[in-house]
Symmetry: C2
Subunit: 136 residues, 2 copies
Amino acid sequence: MNTKMDVELRASGEDYLEAVLILGQRKSQVRAIDVAQYLGYAKTSVSHGLRLLRQGGFLSRDADGYLYLTEAGRDMAERVYAKHRFFAGWLIRAGVAPDIAEKDACRMEHAISEESFQSLMQALEYPQKTSTDGLS
Amino acid sequence: MNTKMDVELRASGEDYLEAVLILGQRKSQVRAIDVAQYLGYAKTSVSHGLRLLRQGGFLSRDADGYLYLTEAGRDMAERVYAKHRFFAGWLIRAGVAPDIAEKDACRMEHAISEESFQSLMQALEYPQKTSTDGLS
DNA sequence: TTTTATAGTTAGTTTTCACTAACCATCTGC
DNA sequence: GCAGATGGTTAGTGAAAACTAACTATAAAA
């Protein structure tokens, strides 16, 4: 029903893309089962979610089932991941326990708009690096 | 099924309680229809949502249909509203347009845990006033 | 070659939380 | 006294996004 560009991603779609991005930084080869394990979801849920993302043009998959972010998918994943790192770091610096800060960041990353986040980054002069450098 | 104390409020319940709190500061008498108008929901949705809150012990209602927050309800509403004001103010000070800051705050208020919020308030030495003073 | 483990899908269920349609009960004004 | 308006409820629908159960397909192992 939707063409690539008018798809509105919800929180769950953003979570899947973010997981693929993060796992790809660790393993170089990422499959649905890895995403399921990472997010703690049943593999059927992930199978369904990833199919929607493929249909939306955010993901592709090769014959062996390995997942690849498209341009649009990587873009979205990096935006979300940047928010995640910002909020997690912010909370941890405020003295929140790291596991709680992580969990909260996982929700807050979906709650703030791109517009607000950009304004914040500028106002705080936060270092805006791309998410793929310096992360092994 | 649930007694008063083991009810877990979700985002929608928090929104209803917050609306009752805010409307009560403006009007002194609040009914379901006011909440529906304020939130932009159909009155059936609000009727259903408020019933759950009454059953959970967060709200009561008199014979004329006027709503009153219980101790637990007021407590929850004030917690959520404090988060709302914090995030909205924070974004606005960062240069975000007020209407966008408001909308984002409406989501972020549910995304951050009470624990993280308290740590933040302490770390930032944010003035922690009760939500009912100074607001007419 | 048969068995077992791994990866994925199909089909159907559940929960949350919005919606519409239709109805009931007051209260007000002619 | 009846016609509307107002406020609320009942009943049923829909979408998002998780779940389980049961299936297929493939690859490895005995």
